[in-house]
């Protein structure tokens, strides 16, 4: 793993495999957010689409 990106939620540094591709889902080890890889020259992460959980609302 030589690539690194930042979690958009908590700014944790996340290590990624060299061959990571766009659309892959990774999870932030600090805040637990699932993140989608965007690779277009550089590598960035954005929150992956998720189903809202019902917390009693």
């Amino acid at each position: 793993m030589s690539l690194a990106a930042e979690c958009p939620e908590c700014a944790a540094k996340i290590a990624l495999n060299d061959d990571v591709i766009s659309g892959e889902i990774v999870q932030c080890g600090d805040c637990g957010l699932e993140l989608e890889v965007v690779r277009d020259g550089s590598v960035t992460l954005r929150p992956a689409p998720e189903e809202e959980e019902d917390w009693g609302e």
Binding site: E9, C10, A11, A12, C28, D30, C31, G32, L33, E34, E50
Partner: protein, 347 residues
């Protein structure tokens, strides 16, 4: 510093004494030489602490039989250690006192919060307040360490990064606590029909642990501190409503708390976006030495409110666990020795 030491526990019949014993019996550098209890002298320790059955064949002894050792843990009722500290200091080079007797530096503060003059005031300056996260350097090699108040410890760890950064204008901290905080001696209030199902305001104002928090964090902000007894055996959870000097976002809080605690072996940041345990809960910390801390900025608040939530096991990180952590520092051992139990799930 020696790799091995003999430790004794004075007042080993209570809950904190039992936890100390559980930890020390599995500690890689410690042999437990004696455990005292006046009311249980002559009985096997597992008579009182059944989880230790077949773990040890130690029996309680009277404090009159206490022999010299390398480190002494005092787990006595309030005021006892202060009255007898001169004697205990002749028996051991190092002492960790788990009571509130030596937590405050200032004798006047002690008199203010405890309603009486300190019976051994010259000893106050010899003790180091025993919370490694704020006093690590002073605890290394120290001879005398105090214990911590469980409610104080969880609140100090929750608020310290904000206070240190000068962000904190005021904080309203409510601690929910379990019944073991009240100790092993039954009272009318602990009688099962009275205690079961309780959500009972224990000390809305004036709780003594407030003095420890103020001493640890300084007076640069207004603190409102309350304690509520809830339906738990072990555990303390603080919900601290913090009003800041300026607005922050969650990412700022992550940065602040991460920088402060990333090297702390027993502080974890818990602010999960998924799953059930999104914020700290004492339930999964039972038996462990962790303090879990979470936070959230209220983006709608005109007074820049941030809610900080922190949890620990009151008998562990709030008492015996931190006492052992202090011992490790005092003796020059690895700070985490004997303290790696991660808790249970489910529980």
């Amino acid at each position: 510093m020696s790799d091995q030491a003999r430790a004794a526990i004075v007042g080993g019949g209570g809950y904190v004494g039992g936890e100390l014993l559980r930890l020390l019996l599995f500690h890689p550098h410690v042999t437990v030489s004696q455990v005292t209890s006046e009311s249980r002298a002559g009985q096997y320790v597992h008579t009182v602490h059944p989880n230790l059955r077949r773990v040890t064949d130690l029996k309680f002894v009277s404090v009159r039989e206490l022999a010299p050792c390398d480190i002494l843990f005092l787990a006595l009722p309030h005021g006892e250690a202060a009255r007898t500290i001169d004697h205990y200091a002749t028996l051991a080079e190092r002492i960790v006192d788990c009571s509130a007797d030596f937590r405050l530096d200032d004798p006047e503060e002690y008199a203010e919060w405890y309603g009486a003059e300190h019976p051994a005031a010259p000893w106050l300056e010899r003790f180091v307040y025993g919370l490694p996260e704020i006093n690590r350097n002073r605890l290394r090699g120290a001879r005398y360490a105090s214990g911590v108040g469980c409610n104080a410890a969880v609140t100090i760890l929750a608020l310290e990064p904000l206070a240190r950064a000068g962000l904190l204008r005021s904080a309203v901290a409510d601690v929910k606590v379990g019944s073991s905080e009240g100790g092993a001696h039954p009272t009318e209030a602990s009688h099962h029909p009275e205690r079961a199902g309780a959500v009972r305001s224990f000390m809305p104002t004036g709780h003594r642990h407030e003095a420890e928090i103020r001493q640890a964090l300084g007076g640069g902000f207004e603190l409102s501190f309350s304690v509520t007894a809830v339906e738990l055996v072990r555990g303390a959870l603080v919900t601290a409503h913090c009003f800041l000097e300026s607005a922050v976002e969650d990412r700022d809080l992550w940065k602040l708390y991460r920088e402060r605690y990333e090297n702390e072996p027993f502080v974890r940041l818990v602010r999960q976006k998924t799953g059930i345990y999104r914020y700290p809960e004492p339930k999964i910390l039972a038996g462990s030495n962790y303090c879990d801390i979470g936070f959230e900025a209220d983006r709608r608040s005109p007074s820049h409110r941030v809610v900080v939530v922190a949890a620990l096991d009151n008998l562990m990180k709030g008492a015996a666990g931190t006492a052992v952590q202090c011992m490790n520092l005092m003796m020059g051992w690895e700070e985490t020795a004997g303290l790696w139990f991660p808790g249970l799930h489910p529980i």
